[in-house]
């Protein structure tokens, strides 16, 4: 069973993602800040990481660089979730060598398009 780690500080957004991925039978893990996120990622080795860029302790861009430095995590796809304009989101993905982005507010069709590209259920 594929395992999705969501690193997101807003509980309502986490509930939305949880409902979507549970309905398709994925395992869902939630971390509500960067410190918890890296710890859980190292313990659970998820199949994909969904990363909110606006986190309270360390922002998502910086956290992505920590994840990429960990040998056990560096091949895991990281998809950022952001309300940034498209051009900024694309630049962030390119500069931080991430695997894609999902625009907020949450669009279920686009969500599954990008998850299905990177993960098998």
């Amino acid at each position: 069973m594929a395992k999705i780690l969501l690193i997101e500080d807003i509980a309502d957004n986490a509930s939305l993602v949880k409902r979507a991925v549970k309905a398709k039978g994925f395992d869902f893990i939630w971390a509500k800040n960067a410190t918890e996120g890296i710890k859980i990622a190292l313990e659970e080795i998820p199949d994909i990481i969904l990363l909110d860029l606006g986190l309270p302790d360390v922002d998502g861009q910086t956290l992505s660089t920590w994840i990429r430095e960990e040998k056990t995590l560096w091949e895991i796809p990281i998809i950022v979730m952001t309300a940034w304009p498209e051009a900024t989101a694309q630049q962030t993905v390119k500069a931080y060598q991430l695997d894609g982005y999902l625009s907020k507010p949450f669009n279920l069709k686009k969500f599954w398009e990008i998850i299905d590209t990177h993960v098998k259920a």
Partner: protein, 281 residues
């Protein structure tokens, strides 16, 4: 529905952090904060909690909005202003602004400064209606940690905290609140580099070294070519900190050093507009 205005000093940092984060959930650039980040912010940017308003429902004490006011000399600075989604259009924003103006007048401030995201036109319009004028356009740049492919030219010396502060004291141009001398004096890790190039170009960079990133850059060219000076210092900086994430906040849109940032892989994350209200009486 009545509102009550309380001073932020009546609440714990944990409560203030929770209030602030509640107001930011639907922002384009939400910038939520942890308790530690909030405490550092209040300290470094001279936020006066006594003068910072918290708005609640008069009857139920439900939290509606927050604002923080920095105070330095005869200037005040509005920051961390937000109203919860459910309580917007009920007068909480106006109550916060009035509290800022009353506090600024009470302490004899000559001006109030704020920064707003450039794309947030409704907020800018609201501030203009409250007497603020746009003064500067500011850039926020980011750079992922990548080792630069080249080595710098020139003779580079480290500026330790005391030397970096002395350099910033000599800076001949205005600085925004977060990059001002007072912010750097308050910051724990502040340092810089001085460079001399063969053609006589010379200048310096000062910056904050945080646990997870390098931030708050200010460049000054004493003589010669600003782009060449900045490019060589940035090359040196990113060789020293090749595993650190970097972001530079509130660079002026006409800063002559900007091309060097883009040469070194920085990209524009967003822009802010600085606005100022002067008190004439």
């Amino acid at each position: 529905m009545g509102l009550k205005i309380l001073s932020a000093s009546q609440f714990t940092i944990e409560e203030l952090t929770d209030f602030y984060n509640q107001t930011r959930v639907d922002y384009l650039v939400p910038m939520p904060m942890s308790v530690d980040v909030m405490a550092e912010y209040i300290h470094d940017f001279d936020v006066d909690l006594e003068l910072s308003p918290i708005i609640q429902d008069e009857d139920t004490s439900e939290f509606f909005g927050i604002g923080m006011l920095g105070v330095r000399g005869d200037s005040t600075w509005i920051t961390r202003l937000g109203v919860t989604t459910a309580s917007r259009r009920k007068g909480a924003g106006a109550a916060i602004m009035n509290a800022f103006f009353d506090a600024s007048k009470k302490i004899g401030a000559k001006r109030t400064i704020l920064e707003v995201i450039k794309n947030n036109v409704p907020a800018q319009t609201l501030f203009e209606r409250n007497g603020f004028k746009k003064t500067k356009e500011l850039l926020v740049l980011r750079r992922a940690p990548i080792r630069p492919p080249l080595s710098p030219e020139g003779e580079i010396t480290w500026l330790y905290r005391k030397d970096a502060l002395a350099a910033l004291r000599s800076y001949p141009h205005p600085l925004t609140w977060i990059n001002a001398l007072e912010s750097m004096e308050n910051a724990s890790m502040f340092q810089g580099f001085y460079i001399k190039l063969k053609d006589g170009t010379r200048g310096w960079l000062v910056y904050r070294h945080k646990k997870q990133s390098i931030t708050h850059f200010e460049f000054h060219t004493e003589y010669g070519n600003p782009v060449k000076m900045a490019r060589n210092i940035l090359l040196y900086l990113h060789l020293q900190y090749h595993r650190m994430d970097s972001y530079s906040e509130n660079l002026f849109a006409d800063d002559p050093h900007l091309p060097a940032f883009f040469d070194l892989g920085y990209f524009e994350a967003f822009r802010r507009i600085e606005m100022v209200k002067e008190y004439t009486d």
